[in-house]
Symmetry: C2
Subunit: 131 residues, 2 copies
């Protein structure tokens, strides 16, 4: 079977679905989505491969939303919006680059830590949910 990047077929499928969806899926969502086309896929494999992809730094965690970790293959620095009602996760385009290396360094020095990254998340109600 064809393999890009020397990924196994299953790892590739997991990565591909992350790249091609904007909904920042959970493990379970990915599993359910792939199961029809890859019947012998197991949940453990999805977990294991997502951890591998995170270590490779080509996938990152959006955080734990309603008890489930959510993932994103878009490694560009951008905030997210999370709906407190339906738990959808939406990308927020960067309005302004608040957190450049200089800002990191400034806060790092001030607080006596070494900042390497950050996560900005907005919470509220999305437009598909009733007000």
């Amino acid at each position: 079977m064809k393999q890009k990047r020397n990924f196994s077929a299953k790892r590739e499928a997991i990565y591909d679905i992350l790249v091609s969806t904007k909904n920042h899926p959970s493990v379970e969502w990915i599993y359910q989505k792939l199961k029809p086309t890859i019947p012998d896929l197991s949940l453990g494999t999805v977990y294991r491969n997502l951890n591998v992809l995170k270590e490779m730094d080509i996938v990152k965690s959006v955080g734990v939303v309603n008890g489930q970790e959510r993932f994103d293959a878009d490694m560009s620095q951008h905030p997210h919006f999370i709906c407190k009602r339906c738990f959808c996760v939406i990308d927020i385009p960067v309005v302004k680059n608040f957190f450049d290396p200089n800002t990191y360094e400034y806060i790092s020095d001030k607080c006596n830590v070494k900042i390497q990254s950050h996560n900005l998340t907005f919470y509220g109600i999305c437009n598909s949910c009733p007000k």
Copy 2:
């Protein structure tokens, strides 16, 4: 036993320990800390009361850190720093108020959502950890 705010003694103890510590503790940490003085405290009670305090909006979640939810009784809007090695959580003083109501409204309009709050977290290595 003395009760402020009409809290039960145990709820009060849980809230007090959150107010008086800066380490943004987990449920387990609070439980272990209180157990010696309140021997009949149970873990379920700590979970239940933290959820009550969250609903009362006098305690908030810092997020899930290394698999455990961490809490903060400081309701002022401020970012946190999380050490990726030891998982300590440190308050970051607000450098500048990026996210005022106008900013919320601006992004809300632009992205077609209703932003109510946000969470800013920095990640890196703290000063107590080996480089």
